[in-house]
């Protein structure tokens, strides 16, 4: 077990740093993407509600 850690130690450390950076970067991008989708959805709903044709009831 000890040998496994010592063997190529710096490659393992660099890989871990890269993995953590990648994870946080992708996580942040995903949060941004979700936020943007939500905003787009909200704005499209709002524009539909605010459009003059929205209140009109169908003529019987």
């Amino acid at each position: 077990m000890n040998n496994w850690i010592i063997n190529n130690f710096w490659i393992k450390v660099v890989s871990l740093i890269l993995a953590v950076i990648t994870w946080f970067y992708v996580n942040e991008e995903l949060i941004k993407e979700k936020h943007m989708t939500r905003q787009l959805y909200k704005s499209s709903v709002m524009s539909q509600v605010q459009s003059p044709s929205y209140d009109k009831k169908p003529v019987k």
Partner: protein, 252 residues
């Protein structure tokens, strides 16, 4: 409960990413792709930092360079990438089933016969770091390791005796390979080219390099830039088996 679950998910995802990065870096370490990979990692880091700091123009430039460097990497190293992907399915997993003791015994027998006859030899045993770059510099053989073959290869005045051989897994991958000479100024000037090449390779990779001196017939082993001289049969076998199977020592 939900927090614990997301923490576990995060750790698993980071673990998977770590494994992928570690595999790529190990694979690249033995090839010429390592310099390009370093460049790509540097550009990626600058790209992330500039994005976080909000330097839009610099970030735009690095985005373009990053996209181009990925494309360049794929084109320049398509052979290495193809070989690496093929190895995932073939080589790495087969290591679990190797008969290490048999291979060690064959190498030791060959070394001692060569030592008796004072025939010089240079044998690199691949471990985790790939030695593809060095295999490419020689003549590919891909033969099963056996002492007769090793002795025949190093017999003087034969076409393949110059340079070193690389043992990868249970195969003699190549012969006549060129290894880098050590640049360490502290290395004794009494050492010949063969020993310098062994030290150079062991500095750059995690390979075990066995050297048989042509002048004295002495057997040495180079590991991590360090040379151990004049090994007897027992100590050579012990060194090789401990390094070839690192867990063996701990399980005792």
């Amino acid at each position: 409960m939900n927090d614990y679950l997301s923490l576990i998910k995060m750790l698993i995802e980071i673990g998977i990413l770590w494994f992928v990065y570690y595999g790529i870096l190990l694979f690249a370490r033995g090839t010429r792709g390592v310099y390009v990979l370093r460049g790509i990692i540097l550009i990626t880091l600058i790209f992330i930092i500039t994005k976080q700091l909000g330097f839009e123009r610099i970030n735009w430039i690095f985005t373009k360079i990053f996209a181009l460097s990925i494309l360049a990497f794929l084109i320049i190293f398509q052979q290495e990438i193809r070989r690496g992907l093929a190895n995932i399915g073939q080589r790495r997993w087969s290591r679990f089933f190797l008969k290490e003791s048999e291979i060690i015994s064959e190498i030791t027998s060959a070394c001692f016969l060569l030592s008796k006859r004072k025939i010089g030899a240079l044998i690199a045993i691949e471990r985790e770091t790939r030695l593809e770059n060095y295999i490419e510099s020689g003549i590919e053989i891909d033969a099963k390791v056996n002492s007769e073959l090793l002795i025949t290869i190093f017999t003087p005045n034969t076409p393949l005796h110059d340079g070193g051989i690389v043992i990868s897994g249970e195969r003699v991958a190549a012969t006549g390979c060129l290894f880098p000479l050590t640049q360490n100024p502290k290395v004794s000037s009494m050492l010949g080219t063969r020993h310098r090449a062994a030290l150079g390779l062991s500095e750059e990779t995690d390979a075990i390099v066995v050297i048989v001196s042509e002048e004295t017939g002495g057997i040495s082993v180079a590991i991590s830039g360090r040379l151990t001289h004049d090994l007897d049969r027992e100590s050579l076998e012990r060194v090789l088996s401990n390094l070839y199977r690192p867990d063996k020592k701990n399980s005792k």
